[in-house]
């Protein structure tokens, strides 16, 4: 029994972390009233840029240092996801283009970039082989606390993770504190609820929207980075990230736009995602049904919140709308 439970918990955590990054990124973005459906693309971009950064460093350096590997991959990932988030922000905030269309185009674009470079990077550097693998960087990201391995099952299950895992939780807590406990967070929520009122109160709507979308994009990109570095150990497979980006958006709804609840929800979703593998004796059709659960549950949450009409649990009121001051 236990020989299954602990690996299950372990892989649940591994699956949950990218979702958590994505969900936190999307929550911060949505709190400013921007429905960024480009998050799946941004997560791909975050992953592939990290891979590219790490690969180039490992390729050119004769003896790559682990610390630099990690730092470079991290920076490259942040830059990559920031570029995509900037494209989205510029189009929707400055040019006031429809958010859904921009987001979907961004997802196409991001996934395209991910799969393109994932498939062709080795060719650019004239290296043989089919799939990229940057073990050194991957190891750097996977390095766990030194005493974790000495703690037996407990250590293996709960402490055998790289720093990004802990960072995800910290980011979620910080996001929660930021949104609920600081003035800036209050202002940001006001922008997402009612930009005209926020504008009248002297809050720069454009600045906050840019800030939230860029920060959200950077955080979501880390989810992609986590997936390729820690989950896959520094490797890239095309479309390997799958539909996790959309699952992250589902978590946002499930967590009713609250970062603290997102931690909890992403573990549930991660668990559901992995559950079918760890339940013995399941037919493959049952597995598919179990994998359907996260989405069904999300739909139920969406329906229940809209029927109950509790104001605190609704999406930000101006979600999906662009703001133009002179149309007040």
């Amino acid at each position: 029994m236990f020989d299954k439970v602990f690996p299950f918990i372990n892989s649940t955590i591994c699956t949950a972390i990218p979702l958590l990054f994505g969900a936190i990124g999307e929550i911060i973005t949505e709190k400013s009233g921007n429905l960024n459906l480009g998050i799946p693309g941004i997560m791909y971009m975050g992953g592939i840029s990290g891979i590219i950064g790490g690969y180039i460093y490992e390729h050119y350096s004769s003896s790559p240092s682990t610390f630099l590997c990690v730092t470079i991959a991290l920076l490259a990932s942040l830059i990559g996801s920031l570029i995509l988030a900037f494209i989205y922000s510029f189009l929707t905030i400055t040019l006031r283009v429809n958010q859904n269309v921009t987001g979907l185009a961004l997802t196409t674009f991001g996934i395209g970039i991910g799969n393109f470079f994932g498939g062709s990077l080795l060719k650019f550097f004239n290296e043989p082989g089919k799939s990229i693998s940057i073990i050194k960087t991957g190891d750097g990201f996977k390095a766990s606390l030194p005493f974790a391995s000495k703690l037996g099952v407990f250590g293996d299950t709960f402490l055998s993770f790289g720093f990004l895992t802990y960072l995800a939780i910290i980011v979620a807590i910080l996001a929660s504190l930021f949104l609920n406990r600081t003035r800036k967070g209050l202002n940001l929520r006001a922008v997402g609820e009612n930009p005209a009122t926020a504008d009248a109160a002297g809050i720069s709507v454009v600045k906050y929207k840019y800030f939230a979308t860029l920060t959200g994009g950077a955080i979501a990109g880390l989810g992609g980075l986590y997936f390729v570095m820690e989950y896959l150990g520094g490797a890239w497979t095309n479309d390997g990230f799958g539909d996790r980006g959309w699952l992250a958006i589902a978590i946002v709804i499930f967590a009713i736009w609250r970062p603290a609840l997102a931690i909890f929800s992403s573990f549930i979703f991660g668990g559901l995602y992995m559950l079918s593998i760890y339940i013995p004796g399941l037919s493959s059709s049952d597995k598919e049904l179990i994998n359907m659960l996260p989405y069904v549950v999300t739909i139920l949450v969406l329906i229940i919140t809209s029927i109950r009409k509790k104001r605190e649990n609704q999406p930000p009121a101006s979600l999906g709308l662009s703001y133009f001051r002179e149309e007040r």
């Binding site: 189009l91 393109f116 589902a250 049904l289 994998n291 969406l302």
Partner: protein, 372 residues
């Protein structure tokens, strides 16, 4: 006084909405955007492949029109994408964000495949192909309708956010497909394989001796029907009024809830039809990736065409042209074919971005001090 002086500075750029731009000028702006996007795409291609972009564009054209087969491929892709774009259009015109076309198509395809699968088990060869095709058509359309109308009912009654709802419905549909494939395929490989390969029962017949032609004809007819529906029917008129202003709809006594539900029934039905066409007319099987992201691309196609069915013919053909062309160059140059997604993305960014310059006017202020 000091502090107040600095407020005298006028913003350098002042943006105002404009309502009266000549059509020619608007199209010029769009043309400029397309040219600019092609230039950027060219740059990207040079950067990643170091080939001459003109040569690359030539290869793209060749990849689409080089052989009869390639042209047919272009037609096949265009007809599928156009069909889904036509499906999402009435809902968008009503400002109902149906992001669930992907799922509605899948369910339609699944229904068709189910018909093929179960009739084969039940009746063997005793059912005629036409009977089966009619059955597949009917079930696909009904299933697509059901999948489309569920979010619409919740939107109409409780104002449930439709874009998130329909988005989630996509993934439920994907898993449902996975579930049935796993049920039907005893080996557990998760791949359905071509159904009725031997009898070709339930396969749409060749027209003019060509495969896919049936699809093309159906979609061509659908385009005309949709144009007439939106432009000349009372329903189409109601859709426009609801989309423009719910207040006006109330004023003239339109039942907004009814219009939302009815329109999504139509939208879902056409998506189901698209699923049927793909299964019966092209793939003859069902996979989780049946719609291949076209449900999302269709949204962009519809948007770029400003909801005009005939414009959609061009926009959808353009996107399929890009995709097929890029896979051609990818093959030739040994690159990954995802380059088409990158190019599509860049072109869409430019085209949707240019709408800003059509809808808004940018006034750059001359440096003049305003009189106190």
């Amino acid at each position: 006084m000091e502090s107040s002086k600095k407020h005298l500075k006028e913003p350098l750029i002042h943006i105002t909405r404009r309502t009266d731009i000549p059509r020619v000028k608007a199209w010029c702006i769009r043309l400029v955007a397309i040219i600019a996007s092609l230039v950027v795409c060219g740059l990207v291609i040079v950067l990643i492949s170091k080939y001459n972009p003109i040569e690359v564009y030539e290869k793209m054209i060749d990849g689409n029109f080089g052989t009869k087969r390639k042209v047919l491929n272009l037609l096949k892709g265009t007809s599928a994408l156009l069909c889904i774009s036509l499906a999402v259009t009435p809902a968008f015109k009503m400002k109902f964000w149906n992001l669930g076309a992907e799922g509605q198509v899948l369910i339609g395809g699944l229904a068709s495949a189910a018909c093929m699968h179960y009739t084969r088990l039940q009746f063997g060869n005793s059912i005629s192909s036409w009977q089966l095709i009619l059955l597949m058509f009917a079930t696909s359309v009904v299933c697509g309708m059901i999948w489309g109308v569920i979010p619409a009912i919740f939107k109409a009654v409780w104002k449930t956010n439709e874009s998130l709802f329909t988005l989630m419905m996509n993934y439920v549909a994907i898993q449902l497909v996975g579930f049935f494939i796993a049920k039907w395929v005893p080996t557990g490989s998760g791949v359905m394989g071509v159904i009725n390969l031997d009898t070709k029962c339930g396969w749409l017949p060749d027209v003019f001796g060509e495969k896919y032609m049936f699809n093309v004809i159906v979609v061509a007819v659908l385009t005309i029907v949709m144009f007439i529906y939106l432009r000349f029917s009372k329903h189409g008129y109601e859709i426009s009024v609801v989309g423009e202003s719910e207040n006006t709809a109330r004023y003239v006594g339109i039942n907004v809830k009814k219009v939302i539900i009815r329109t999504m029934l139509i939208s879902g039905a056409i998506c189901g039809l698209a699923g049927f066409l793909i299964v019966s007319g092209a793939d003859h099987t069902v996979t989780k990736n049946l719609a291949g992201g076209m449900g999302f691309t269709a949204i962009m196609v519809s948007w770029l065409a400003k909801f005009e069915p005939f414009m959609m013919v061009f926009t959808s053909a353009f996107i399929i042209f890009l995709q097929n062309g890029s896979s051609a160059i990818a093959m030739k140059l040994g690159l990954n074919k995802s380059v088409s997604d990158i190019l599509t993305g860049i072109i869409i960014f430019f085209i949707i971005g240019c709408e800003f310059f059509i809808n808004y006017k940018i006034n750059i202020r001359a440096k003049q001090k305003e009189a106190k």
